[in-house]
Amino acid sequence: MEGSLAWKGATFLREVERRSGTPVSACFQCHKCSTGCPVGPEMELLSSQVMRLIHLGEEEKVLESPSIWLCASCEACTTRCPMGIDIAGVMDTLRIMAVERKAVSPDARGEPFNRSSFLGSVKRHGRVFELGMLTAYKVRSGQLFADMDKAPTMFKKRKLALLPTKSGSVNEVRDVFRKAEEEEKKR
């Protein structure tokens, strides 16, 4: 990593702890989370390094890192942390904060997928309409032709429905989205 690190105060650490509800400050750098992380080889910042940078108050380095978007939420780190830190939960909190502060790395492909493609589909139909969701993601991410070779097989195997099934509770779902967005702002 470029530059030297110095303690920048506890504000960021306290906010991450409050919002994730987990004691990030308890991390003593045993690196058990990083060694068991399935996406470690692709991460420029390993999970234990992210914990340490939070201690140091390195808000920008953490929130702008593409690594926080590579977490697959497999929960191996959370399960194994000897200090009981919900590390996968911290990754969620960091993503939410990165979006709020417009700090999302341009390399983070997970963001357009989560918010616009997947949750957009849930809001429209009450359920995920996979074909619509995948098309929306491809358009948004610009990766129009990635996986096009999979489409004929998926159709042949009846794995991509052509039309969405709408839940009868879709209006209720839209109401839940609206209220949840209000509640989330209060956190």
Binding site: C74, R115, L119, V122, Y137, K157, K159, S169, V173, E183
Partner: protein
């Protein structure tokens, strides 16, 4: 035995065969499923990584619907299972989460309706003896690597029915059904899950690691209980081989499909034609071997 069935979105499309085989084996085993009317998406990973309140509220909508049915929820998808259990856990143990979910849904939420996975119900409600007594010899000699993935057993305070590092429920079920589970070290390693859509290269690396280890352990096929595990290992198997080296074609079947075969159900009853890496030749070889053994009068 009757449960409020929550299929989840994947079981309506990419994993339709998981839905079909789950319903088929439940019918065969006398487990009654009543689909939760107008169920909605659990929010899956995109909800909990972008809005914590939304993740709890979407899952809780379904739990509240099941509460009105006065039944335990049964789900087959490992991800839906984890999301519903997490919502229950938060609402039950954190008054702030309970108040928030109740405010969003406009009614009091309790988080007390049990959420069960099909494997939990098969092992703990129905029992291995019942499985043993109802299965035939269809799987005899079939070597299976049981792949649990992440969310069936992690984190342990949420998924409470098996060991988080060394789960055995699928191995036990398949042994009872006459198959031969193999010992292998990657039972709970992650397949990359939803990175399949955004970072397929990572999923190919992880998939190749899993498939080649299963082969080295002597497995003919894998058993899974998660739509993302299945898709990542089956749909992406040819890409994984292209990128990381040749391994024999390895069918990845849902545990419900394998149990269905042991119960005497047909490939059609279980949606076996949905597999991309076909299991047909594997099952045919075994039929031929068995009939040869049968004509030899050994059984």
């Amino acid at each position: 035995m009757k449960y409020a069935y929550y299929p989840g979105c994947s079981l309506e499309s990419t994993a339709w065969e998981f839905d079909k085989s789950t319903r088929a084996i439940c019918r065969a085993l006398g487990i009654e499923l009543e689909e939760i009317p107008d169920w909605v998406c659990c929010g899956s990973t995109p909800a909990h990584t972008s809005n914590t309140s939304l993740a709890v509220a979407l899952a809780m909508m379904n739990i509240e619907k099941a509460r009105a049915m006065k039944m335990d929820i049964l789900t087959a998808c490992a991800s839906c299972y984890a999301r519903l259990r997490t919502a229950n856990y938060k609402v039950k143990n954190d008054p702030a989460e309970r108040d928030r979910a109740s405010a969003i849904l406009g009614k009091p939420c309790e988080g007390t309706t049990p959420v069960r996975h099909i494997l939990d119900v098969l092992v703990n409600d129905l029992g291995l003896d019942a499985i043993r007594s109802k299965t035939q010899r269809a799987l005899e000699g079939l070597r299976v690597a049981c792949y649990y993935g992440c969310l069936l057993s992690r984190p342990p305070e949420i998924a409470a029915f098996d060991d988080p590092e060394h789960p055995t429920c699928m191995d036990d079920l398949l042994s009872a059904a006459g198959a031969t589970p193999v010992e292998w070290p990657y039972k709970t390693e992650c397949c990359g899950a939803a990175l399949s859509i955004t970072n397929a290269d990572i999923v190919c690396r992880l998939g190749h690691k899993l498939l080649s280890m299963a082969r080295r352990a002597g497995a003919d096929c894998l058993a899974v209980a998660c739509p993302l595990c299945q898709a990542n290992l089956d749909l992406r198997q040819s890409d994984a081989k292209k990128a990381y080296g040749e391994i024999p074609d390895t069918p990845v079947l849902y545990i419900t499909q394998l149990l269905g075969l042991a119960l005497g159900l047909t490939p059609d009853d279980l949606g076996l034609d949905a597999l991309i890496v076909s299991a047909a030749s594997l099952l045919e070889q075994r039929d031929t071997a068995k009939s040869a053994a049968g004509s030899g009068g050994t059984r």
